[in-house]
Structures are given as C-alpha cells and as structure tokens.
C-alpha cells in the first residue's frame, strides 16, 4: 500500500513499475526478515545463512555494496543488507529464489567472459565492479528492447536493488533492521518522535503570517 496511499505514489506508478508493486506485495514479510537480520547481527555469533551458501553471500554483499556503496558514510554493508536479503529469500521473497539461482551464476559467467582470469564479481576492484554493472545494465536494456521482455539477469539485478534499498532504509525505531539506523543517518532523518519548529532552513527566520499588502483590494 506504500504506493497507493498517497496519490503521488499512484501518479508515479508508471515510473516505478514492478519495483513498487514488489515492495507493496512483500512488505509484511520484510518485517520478519529485518528482525532476523537485526538479531543475527546483534548476537555476534557466526551467522548461518538460510538461503545463500557463504560464498554466495559474499557475492550478494559485494553487489549490494555497489548499489548503496560505503564511502564517507555507511552503505548497504554496514546496514547488514545481505542478512536481510538472505532472510527475505526463504520467507516473503521466496518467489525470487529462481532469479537469484539463475541470475547470480549467469552474472558470474559474464564476469569471467569480460575479465578473463577473474572468477567472481567480488574479486573485481570496485571500479571494475561498477563498470561491469553499467555494462550489464546497458546490455539488458538492449536485450529487453530486442526481445520485448526483460531477461533473467535484469530481473535479478532489479530485485536485488529493491531488496537492498528496503534493507537499508527500513524503520530502525521498530528494532527491525537498518542496523544502528545507519540508513536514516545517511538520508538525514532524525529518529526522534517529536519535533519543534523551526524545522528547517527556510522557516528559521519566518516572521509570522502577514496578509499580502494588496489583499484588501481583491474582494
């Protein structure tokens, strides 16, 4: 319902396509996934993945870290996104399992084609990773245009993108994920429950509402 609640979401539906629908349809289960990731991270114990083999988790972690990279601020990696996605794939996102099962090996195959001697995505430098993903994006757009439909890899990357964003920005106040609220810190959303004006830069020096000088003539 995130997309329907405000008519803005409705008006923008054409632009977000499957993305918003995916989130909307699977959101309830995301709660469980995020809780799981949160607890796993907090326990400090060696994490046992439910869907990914440890080596696959490394690849997903590397991919989501390019979607929301770590730079001078935390990224998907610090928010524990890979745990969120792993949990998602055995619960609400189980419908996407096939995309990951086919999409990840196909992506690795293309890594080996484009970078002979390199076995996997995570072994590339960040610059190479970005260049590779851009190339994938471009070729998928071509393929999609040619075939009139989206190919498997495209669907895999798109699913991964939405899952990464969701795991990064899920409400930390509810103790569900978005580890330590790093996602909200990045976007500048304070977690407080009440605020007082002035709220921002533009209402700081507001002198109070005054009628427009010429208003008296209007009616």
């Amino acid at each position: 319902m995130i997309n329907e609640l405000s008519r803005r979401r409705f008006l923008s539906q054409a632009g977000i396509g499957v993305t918003g629908a995916w989130v909307s349809a699977h959101w309830p289960e995301m709660v469980a996934a995020a809780t799981h990731a949160h607890q796993a991270v907090q326990s400090g114990a060696a994490y046992k993945f439910d869907f990914f083999a440890p080596a696959e988790a490394v690849e997903i972690d590397a991919l989501s870290a390019r979607i929301i990279p770590t730079d001078d601020t935390p990224g998907a990696r610090e928010a524990g996104v890979v745990y969120f996605i792993d949990r998602a794939l055995v619960t609400f996102g189980s419908g996407d399992q096939q995309k990951y099962r086919e999409g990840l090996p196909e992506l690795q195959r293309q890594v080996r084609v484009k970078f002979p001697g390199v076995e996997k995505f995570s072994a590339l430098t960040p610059e190479q990773q970005d260049a590779f993903l851009h190339a994938m994006e471009a070729s998928q757009t071509e393929n999609a245009a040619r075939r009139g439909r989206l190919n498997t890899a495209r669907t895999f990357l798109e699913a991964l993108r939405v899952a990464t964003i969701s795991g990064f920005l899920i409400d930390p106040e509810a103790g569900l994920g978005n580890r330590d609220g790093v996602g909200w810190k990045v976007i500048g959303r304070e977690p407080a429950h009440s605020f007082q004006p002035p709220f921002g830069y533009y209402d700081k020096d507001y002198p109070g509402w005054q009628p427009a000088p010429k208003m008296a003539d209007k009616k």
Binding site: L11, P69, A174, L176, V186, H193, F199, G200, P211
Partner: protein, 555 residues
C-alpha cells in the same frame, strides 16, 4: 482508552444502525446518541486506538494495518463499460474504527459557494453529467462551523480573499509553518497569488483528552498516537460512547440490508470476526460506508422488490457518477535542508485558481495548490528522486542523502466532472474473502479534468521556479486508475429519477434508509472532501433527528 459501551442484542430493534464509523458515521453516531437515540455502529475493521498506532511504516503501510486489504478484498478496474475489468488494486480507504479520518492528510477546506451552483453558472458540459446541488453553501455554513469547533480544525479566518463567508473564526490558530510552507508562500506572493495558512483537522492547541500536534512526521497514512489529528474516533466516537446509548461493534462486515414485505429496511446483516452471520435489527438504517462500499452494499442487497439494488428502482444511478478529484504533483529540490519530514503534511495552500474562467482557459474546472512533504524513507528512495537520478551506486546514494531533507512537493487538487459511466459496481466474477462480489471500478477522466490538472501543474512548476528550486520535475499526468476520494455514487437530489437521496439524506425509494458519506456528493469540490462529508453528517443528523421525533420515519 476504550469507554464502556452498552451491548445491544441483535434482536433488539435499536433506533439506528449505522454502517461505517468514519468521517460521516462517527459524527452521526455522536449526534444521534447525544439526541437520545439508541445506536449500533457496525464497522468492518478492527477497533484500534492510540495504543495500537505505530510509527512503523512497514506495519502500517505494508500490512494495511489501517486500510482495506487487497488480498482479502480484491478489486477490478476498467476504463469504460465496454472493457473487461482486470484485477488490480483500484482504491484505498480506512478500515478501522474512525475510517479514513484516522490516516488522512487532514486538509480541511470548506467547499465554496460555486461548488453547489456550478451547473447553473457554466451550463451543460458535453460528456458530463454536471448538475447543481439541491442545497446551497448557506445551508451547510452552520455545519462547517460546527465541524471546525466540535471536531477541532486549526486555521486562520480571513487569510484568503477567496474564502466563502463564515459565521465564526476557527477555534484555534494554524499549525506552525514548515519550510515547504515558507517556500510556497514566498514564491506565490512573488507571482501575485494569495497563499494562506492551511486549515487542517489537526490540533494546534490541546483539548480534553487530546494533545496538540507534536510534529512527529508520521502523519499521512498513520494514526495519530496523541489524538492531535481530528479523526472521528477521537473527536466524535468517544463522545458517542459516553452517552451510554451507542455501541461501536468492530469486525462487523455488513453484506446486506434486509427489507420487509413493505419494502422497508429492517436491519443490517453482517459477518462477525469468525464469519458467522448476524442480523442487527433497527428502526432505521444509515449507510456511511464510503463512496465505494455504500453503493456496493445497496447493489448486494438487491431482492425481488429491488431487482437493480436497494434504493435503486427510481433512478438506477446507484454507483454511478463517480468522481475522484483530479490531481497532479510536482517536486522541487532546494539548496538548504527543509527537514520537511518533520511535522504534518501541509502548512500553506492557495485558492487563486479555485474558479477558472472556462472562456479564457478553454476548459471547465478549478482547483487549489498545496505545499507539502509526506514521503517515508523507502517510498522516497524508490519513488521520489528526480527521474534522471542513477538507480544505484554512489550517485544514487548521494542523491538520496541530499534530497530527502531538501525535497518538497506542490500538489494540485482539482475538480472531477461527473460522468454516468464512471462507477463502482459488482464484479461479475471476482469474489472477496467472504465470497461477496468484488468492487469493480470503471473510470475515465473527462478530458477537461486532464486539461485542468495540466494547467494547475504548470502553475505549480511556475511556483517552484519562482521559489528558486535547484531542480524540479512532475509525475506524468495520466488518466486515473486509482481512487482515494470516493465521491458522487449515490448523489443527492430532488428528483427521484436522477438521484438516490433527498436533502434529508433519505433514499427516495426506502423510507427508513439514509445514506451519508462521499457518495452523497453532487459535485467533487476542489479536492478535499472530508470537511464537507462531516458538515453533511452534522446536517443529516439534525434532519434525521427531526424526522424521527415527528414519528415520520416509522410511519
């Protein structure tokens, strides 16, 4: 904070059974129980209160905590009656005690005089079924004032030169201005327009049992945890409960209004939480189920006496003439942080374009603009960044980090012309989780509605330019396929052949059946229907009380 209520037996013929506890149902429950009548309110959703509301956007928005559920209550859509409808989520409405007034934006504009008499003024419009209301602004004015004072509306009287006459000022000052409001106001003034503090059904000052707004930022879509938002739950139902004559019965999904051999309503049949059926008997039935569910219920109540649906014999227009309000959105990004995620949604609006001259602009219609921000983090990341933003990577993250606190929107709200073929009806194939026919929406905007919002949106873009936005863009303006405002589907009128209810909200065909909600509307107004729904409900309560006291309902 639930109050002890009477428990009526279903076999106990109460004075009124009210179906729906939202903006209209809550007020009718309050007024009628206060006037001494015994009332049962049947609400399909659960009884949630402040303690159940949460800032957890996943639970509220994702799990439809407060709203109709697309899996339990699937819907279908088609553009014209000739098309086959396909399953898609076609509408959203509140589904807990308090209805949509629990989670709404709380923009509380009165209708203006023109909204009641527009057909007489502009004449016939091809392709539209525009008619005048059988009542006038002056008939509703005392009730608009009653809404403002009894429910709690903040605002500043006299701040807009376009405001209709009012008998009293607002009961409390406007909410604080947000950065989006200051930007909106300064830019609008630059353009020679007349921005003013938004009237909002949110408290700027505390009232007994209710806090003033704490600016938490989880407003549109969320229930207010401190009772500042003037939902019918906190502002009306609690008063009804204190009379000791009103029972709110949640988890009660009405699927049929039963009638006797004389064609009079005898009560409402409903499913309880466990899908057992009951019949609550009553001397009169008042349906306040919203502009989609009210006509659906009448259509589902068809019988041999009313083969086209209850109260649909004379006119055949139950469910028809649906209006959604036209709408468009432009986004602007600014140099410094607005932090507009704090507070409520809207603090400044303007009505300069409320009544456009069709001769000059080339189309019928009018509307208003508001400056706002109402996004939550994931939704913002997926939907609210400029369309040319990269979808991932450093640039995506940078845009997210920069824009979340620096974005605002200018929302254009406008008229919808009524068209008879736009409707809510029963889907012939799809069923809901109770085995009842699903709602089918048929809707195609009148061309003037689309021209209007495009014109309004051009003004919104001008405003963002004048405001010095570093970046601005609009969502595409397309034909609407999704409904939030549900208006006009059981319209009020004097002629039983063309309308469903009379000016007392009594159906022309069933003497003891009344309808009051968005379905009663004759025209759409300029986009903020709840204020008028509540004014109509206060007025209907007076009319129904008079009829009941004179013995006219049971006669």
């Amino acid at each position: 904070m639930k109050v002890e209520q009477p428990k009526y037996k279903t076999s106990d013929e109460v004075d009124f059974v009210i179906i729906g506890s939202g903006a209209a149902g809550g007020i009718l429950a309050k007024e009628l129980s206060t006037n001494g009548f015994r009332v049962v309110v049947l609400e399909q959703g659960p009884y949630l209160t402040e303690a159940d509301y949460t800032h957890n956007e996943i639970k509220v928005l994702g799990e439809d905590l407060l709203t109709n559920h697309p899996k339990l209550q699937p819907t279908t859509f088609r553009k014209t009656p000739q098309d086959k409808a396909k399953q898609q989520r076609a509408l959203v409405y509140g589904r807990s005690v308090g209805g949509t007034s629990v989670h709404f934006t709380a923009n509380f504009w009165r209708f203006h005089e023109i909204d009641f008499i527009e057909r007489g003024k502009v004449g016939a419009i091809p392709g539209a079924n525009l008619v005048d209301w059988p009542i006038r602004y002056a008939d509703l004015e005392p009730y608009y004032t009653k809404v403002e004072w009894e429910i709690g509306v903040s605002g500043l009287a006299g701040s807009s030169p376009f405001d209709p006459p009012r008998s009293k000022p607002y009961p409390m000052p406007p909410l604080p201005v947000k950065s989006s409001g200051v930007i909106f106001e300064r830019a609008a003034r630059k353009l020679g327009w007349n921005p003013f503090p938004a009237p909002m059904a949110i408290l700027s000052q505390p009232r007994p049992g209710r806090s003033a707004c704490m600016n938490c930022g989880f407003c549109l879509g969320f229930g207010c945890e401190v009772g500042a938002k003037s939902s019918s739950l906190v502002a009306a139902i609690r008063v009804a409960e204190k009379t000791g004559r009103c029972e709110i019965r949640p988890d009660s999904y009405v699927h049929r209004i039963e009638t006797d051999a004389r064609g009079r309503a005898i009560g409402a049949a409903y499913f309880d939480k466990d899908k057992n059926t009951h019949l609550q008997k009553a001397k009169a039935v008042i349906v306040c189920a919203n502009g989609a569910e009210t006509p659906r219920l009448l259509l589902m109540s068809a019988n041999s006496q009313f083969p086209k649906g209850l109260a649909n014999n004379s006119s055949g227009v139950v469910g028809k003439n649906l209006m959604l309000n036209s709408a468009a959105i432009s986004m602007g990004v600014f140099e410094h942080p607005l932090n507009d995620y704090q507070g409520f949604a809207v603090s400044r609006i303007l009505h300069d374009f409320y009544e456009l001259d069709a001769q000059k602009v080339g189309f019928y219609g009018g509307g208003g603009l508001d400056g706002r921000f109402d996004a939550t983090p994931i939704g913002f990341a997926l939907n609210s960044l400029p369309p040319d933003t990269p979808k991932w990577g450093t640039a995506f993250k940078k845009a997210l980090a920069e824009n979340f606190t620096r974005t605002m929107e200018v929302f254009s709200h406008g008229t919808s012309l009524p068209r008879e073929e736009n409707s809510f009806s029963l889907d012939p194939e799809l069923k809901d989780a109770w085995g009842l026919p699903a709602l089918r929406m048929t809707y195609k905007d009148h061309p003037d509605d689309l021209k209007l919002v495009k014109w309004l949106n051009d003004r919104a873009l001008e405003l963002l330019d004048a405001a010095g936005a570093t970046k601005k863009w609009s969502y595409p303006i397309t034909e609407q396929e999704f409904a939030v405002h549900l208006l006009g589907t059981c319209r009020m009128g004097n002629d039983p052949k063309t309308s469903v209810i009379n000016t007392d909200h009594r159906t022309h065909d069933v003497k003891n059946l009344f309808l009051c909600d968005g379905s009663s509307f004759v025209t759409s107004g300029r986009g903020q229907p709840t204020m008028t729904i509540e004014a109509l409900a206060f007025r209907a309560a007076d009319r129904i009380t008079a009829l009941a006291k004179s013995g006219e309902i049971s006669a």
